[in-house]
Amino acid sequence: MQPAPADAAAQDRDIVALLQSGALEPAFQLTLARYQDKVYRLCCAVLRDPSAAEDAAQESLVRIWKAIGSYDGRASLSTWIYTITRNRCLSAIERRRELASLSDEAVAAEAEAQADSYGVTDAEPQEGSALLREMVDLLPERYRRTLTLFYYEDRSVSEVASMLGMPEGTVKTNLSRARAALTEQLRRRGLADPRHWLETSP
């Protein structure tokens, strides 16, 4: 459950006040409590692979701890944190590309297996949801990322915009296009009435 925007802003103000008073350790603990889940979700949405996302989230949080003393308040705390996280994710993607360029089929197969493991939980996957996730994965990257984060973040457009560093209007446009593309895919797969199919999926 997301905290109300006013609560979130108050928490950020508390963190900034602690930073300004030089209390770095308590400020970081509050930052962790407020942002570690979000940082991990952002990494999941960008990288798809849970273990890569965990590594990137850990690196981001260590980086945040190292740099928290130099946070100067020019950007909002959330913007600062998400920028660090996105940069870590981009580095992870770069590393993955370098690995892929050096790799052979075994590495490619492993990467595919990791991508397949994303979203799998202990519970038996629901058929409708699994199909929907598969279709989401086929969306163009910017739509997939926006749509995934939108649902991770309890349908908060402003939070997704802040996490991805893009204007809210762009987020709304991406969401609308992603949904339209998904509906079109459902139609193409012979599910002529997506509404009916979705309502009856378990």
């Binding site: 260590v62 629901q126 409708g128 749509l147 991770y152 973040e153 139609r187 997506p194 979705l198």
Partner: protein
């Protein structure tokens, strides 16, 4: 041609997507691994700070030694010059009467030639050392 989507058409899709894309929870052990990473990073940083301090201390010591060596070299050079000048003056004072007796009025030219030869010899030796020319004189 597909029909334009009405916003209401998205409602069932929205509900299905919310079910299909639940927010991922932090993996088990995330906190422990994060604390370990933070501790490791802190000890690395301490290690780096200690190495840096040690290197800076060593650099300061070396600079102080170099300064001291440079000063003593300058003092030795100055001492050698002054000593050499006095020794040369004493040698001239002792040798000049004998040169005058032997060479007459040409004694001053002989003395100047001797001085020039000694000067050239010292200069050549110092340049051989400076440009690392093969020390032919030393081999002789």
């Amino acid at each position: 041609m597909s029909e334009p989507m009405h916003p209401d058409d998205f409602q069932p899709l929205d509900a299905a997507l919310a079910r299909a894309l639940p927010p991922p929870a932090l993996p088990a052990g995330f906190q422990v691994r994060l604390q370990a990473a933070l501790t490791r990073d802190a000890s690395d940083a301490d290690g780096r700070a200690a190495s840096r301090a040690h290197a800076q201390r060593e650099q300061r010591q070396r600079l102080a030694e170099l300064d001291a060596d440079y000063l003593s070299l300058r003092r030795r050079t100055l001492g050698t010059l002054i000593g050499g000048a006095f020794a040369a003056g004493a040698a001239v004072a002792v040798a000049f009467p004998w040169l005058q007796a032997s060479f007459g009025t040409n004694a001053i030219y002989v003395l100047a030639s001797l001085g020039a030869l000694v000067g050239l010899g010292i200069g050549t030796a110092s340049w051989i050392g400076r440009v690392r020319l093969p020390n032919l004189l030393g081999r002789l």
